[in-house]
Symmetry: D2
Subunit: 305 residues, 4 copies
Amino acid sequence: MADVVLGENRYGKAEVRIVAVSRDGGWHRLKDLNVSISLAGDFAATHLTGDNTGVLPTDTQKNTVYAFAKEHGIGEIEAFGLRLARHFVDGHEQTRLCRVRIEQYGWDRIPVQGGPAPHSFLRTGPETRTAEVSVAAGGAELVVSGVSGLVVLNSTGSEFHGFHQDRYTTLPETSDRVLATEVSARWRHQSNHQPNQQPNQQPDQHADWQTSFVETRRHLLEAFAETYSLSLQQTLYAMGERAIRQREEIAEIRLALPNRHHFLVDLAPFGLTNENEVFYASDRPYGLIEGTVRRAGVADSDLAW
Amino acid sequence: MADVVLGENRYGKAEVRIVAVSRDGGWHRLKDLNVSISLAGDFAATHLTGDNTGVLPTDTQKNTVYAFAKEHGIGEIEAFGLRLARHFVDGHEQTRLCRVRIEQYGWDRIPVQGGPAPHSFLRTGPETRTAEVSVAAGGAELVVSGVSGLVVLNSTGSEFHGFHQDRYTTLPETSDRVLATEVSARWRHQSNHQPNQQPNQQPDQHADWQTSFVETRRHLLEAFAETYSLSLQQTLYAMGERAIRQREEIAEIRLALPNRHHFLVDLAPFGLTNENEVFYASDRPYGLIEGTVRRAGVADSDLAW
Amino acid sequence: MADVVLGENRYGKAEVRIVAVSRDGGWHRLKDLNVSISLAGDFAATHLTGDNTGVLPTDTQKNTVYAFAKEHGIGEIEAFGLRLARHFVDGHEQTRLCRVRIEQYGWDRIPVQGGPAPHSFLRTGPETRTAEVSVAAGGAELVVSGVSGLVVLNSTGSEFHGFHQDRYTTLPETSDRVLATEVSARWRHQSNHQPNQQPNQQPDQHADWQTSFVETRRHLLEAFAETYSLSLQQTLYAMGERAIRQREEIAEIRLALPNRHHFLVDLAPFGLTNENEVFYASDRPYGLIEGTVRRAGVADSDLAW
Amino acid sequence: MADVVLGENRYGKAEVRIVAVSRDGGWHRLKDLNVSISLAGDFAATHLTGDNTGVLPTDTQKNTVYAFAKEHGIGEIEAFGLRLARHFVDGHEQTRLCRVRIEQYGWDRIPVQGGPAPHSFLRTGPETRTAEVSVAAGGAELVVSGVSGLVVLNSTGSEFHGFHQDRYTTLPETSDRVLATEVSARWRHQSNHQPNQQPNQQPDQHADWQTSFVETRRHLLEAFAETYSLSLQQTLYAMGERAIRQREEIAEIRLALPNRHHFLVDLAPFGLTNENEVFYASDRPYGLIEGTVRRAGVADSDLAW
């Protein structure tokens, strides 16, 4: 009979939806998060015999998210993730590695006659700010910030030609096309550039995560807009390079850029020209360009991803 | 044997995705639409015998959307819808009623160092501007503008109590709750207040649809924010009433407001209070409040919906 | 100042997800439903002044679904919907019309060595059985059964030609195409053919709803498969006609058939033929064919839809 | 200035939707696939300078899927993936690693009076059969088969107790609960047990992929149904162990099992008991249990995943 062994495993609570309201008199602030936790470590017993002695229920993990929001506030999602991850690694012997992934949904204030409303909000989007925090027993910590659902489009300044052709190539070359994508970007922070976030400090005392996110997002957008593109790969690299050159806290950045094709509609049958004016926005299939850009000399890290 | 008859029927092309770029030198503008067309009329032959003599293919309808974008420009979606609907009613004998439904996705310019980028764009959302246009043979026309996916939240200023109770009622009364909803609103324009949009005029000459949309949306948001709410129904009515009082071109408005429940998390088991600070955002089930608000004396219209 | 009036309105709880297990010894049966309720009637007070005296909370409606499942069992979804709708109309003075919409998800038993497992189940799909029940104060009742998500495809036996052509027509005629659609069908039962379902009877005593659904679904599928089609409209009518001729309990049936286009891929550039062998399955845009087929002489009913 | 380097990267065409019809006289067979391709290798030039000399367009990759379906037939998806992946690695110098991921949607024949229809089909689901094939320059090949969307439920035979408790634990222990999950399973084939699939052979000559899939799926389902469960982890391991013990071609299997919580509804406020009869099926949050089960002594493989 085959010998069978348990390999890598992890478990946790996914998609804990929390909305937290903080008040400064009648002036409210909103945090709207989707928190997912996973624990890895010594969980062989429950797999092999159903002995749950070492299993912290996922329900407890959910409770902890809500309780921590009250006890410590949420602050920036990287800090909240670190606090949660440290708690599970420090407080639960079987957990050797905790990962916390957080999505943050954006809200603006509703503008009313007298200015921004004090406690009325309007959802922005579709983009989502993300954080993925990994904390290992022994103290190693890694933080990955990111953004997803950032849909961008250049209506000119993009070419695609000179490519390899084989028997199955029919794509015409183009010197002017629409380039559109939905940016998913995740950047790993250098350990020595992380804000010094101690568990007993208030997350809100550290504004660096917020600045880092806002500035990195800005550089990604600017690089997308300012890069004259000969391929989506070139644009990807330019975005990553810009982020790393401009933000010294970033060790590496991973980008996934689906090529949201906009095909020029053939209007000739109707006696009409189409000089890059009318496009069909296609859903599937799509090109998918994925790449990592790294700061030279920075060590790789399996822990972070 | 039963006698069987064909009842109401319609057909058309749904979800034609068109992105149109217009240029003012290097300064580009973007329209991103999802267009659905339906034709009703004398289509018994194709149903009963497969005789397609009177059937204009849905593929042709799709082509017409793209061709019209080039020939006439898109302009405001209400005008574009009218132009398309008139074309099918006027040009296709079997069509007695054409409805065009358009969703418009929002795009901002990407901000770069020198200001807004000339041809680089960032998708906004999640809200969508909508238009539904109905044109009947004989000349009757109705235009319904709208917005969907407008997610709003008041973090205070909402109560719910004094309700009817029966054997199955367990809901506690509350004098302070989070009120959140995803607004779907559609408002029918009065016929005599529609911009005088002739088929041979340029849609862009008429800015009224744009102003009407922007202002109605603003009034809906302000009414949501400013209404102290004893029920989501009261908020719905206040929103509709505001729109009708403020915008004389509106005959009636239909609102669908799912109650996106935010439940207060019970933190007592952890020795913590929760004074409307930490909420669980629930997906299902949800309350769904739907209602119409009308200008008094305005005739109802089955044609529009 | 404009006079403003409240028009049609309704409210209720949507998407109550209930899974009920009934036992016959160790042999379990499963019902998996998504129940949505709406109440219409005299609800002006809550809209105009926030007076909730007449408002039965949507939370109570949810509770009632769960309680009724225990008190009365679920049985067939038409019967469960009737029981719920009658309860709200009979027990809540302000409610003049209650509509209950139910989706039922399918489950099979997992086959194990000894045959079908007694309490282990496998989700089927993607199709969903539906029911929409309307009960008005005064006793009028209407039941609409249906199915959605029924995806079907004929790989031959479908033509499309002889259609109207205008300036924008480019579609080639075809005498052999793939015809695929996702059937949404809803059929209204004749009042005098409804199983005589009294509130104080057990729903399970009446098997007719089950038979009616299974047989109508079968006839729809057979008509789709057996109809040589010159247009999707012809197929739609054939399906409706079949259902009405075969099932005397059906007064009318409404079908919505999106034309899931399967485009023949042009393989000529690669020196290959394509004799209806290789297709690209397109997502958008799609044709949408909607139609009603009625039993002659049967009165229309606004109440049902 | 920071030195910046390009890290791991890949690109390809995602979600090529292909439906292929093969004929045996009037008896048709259907394959309905969603194919995604990615190429990794020497693609620095296009990233760094926009030099596309070595870039095979994703459009060509799409064309190749359609052309190969005609030239070679599809056969089993593992074989089709291998054929595609070998083609790109062998025929395109820059590609050092090609991964092909395929989803296959299920179709049954529509039953008609005379038995199964010859060319009319009904979509099954929601489950999807999957394959992920990796081919490296130099000849290494790995095949991962799988299934996703397999939703299963045990209505009894599941307990959860004896777990670790901390300050935030409130979950009651249970000795009888509903256990439901949506199985995502991917199993890596041992290299020496792969069917000997040569590029110039017909995929259909090798029935082993089909048998392997059908049998592995059966063992997973049986293990789910037959395992008396003290934790979802125990069920996961039992499923993986069963697959490996029963199917000698499997080297390892990775399972992701979201715990689709079914919460017992508290009916006590209505004077009713609830002996595991009425449940609320919750969407979010959910437990997520992930684990790998391996054949002892089998080498790990980074290439496959």
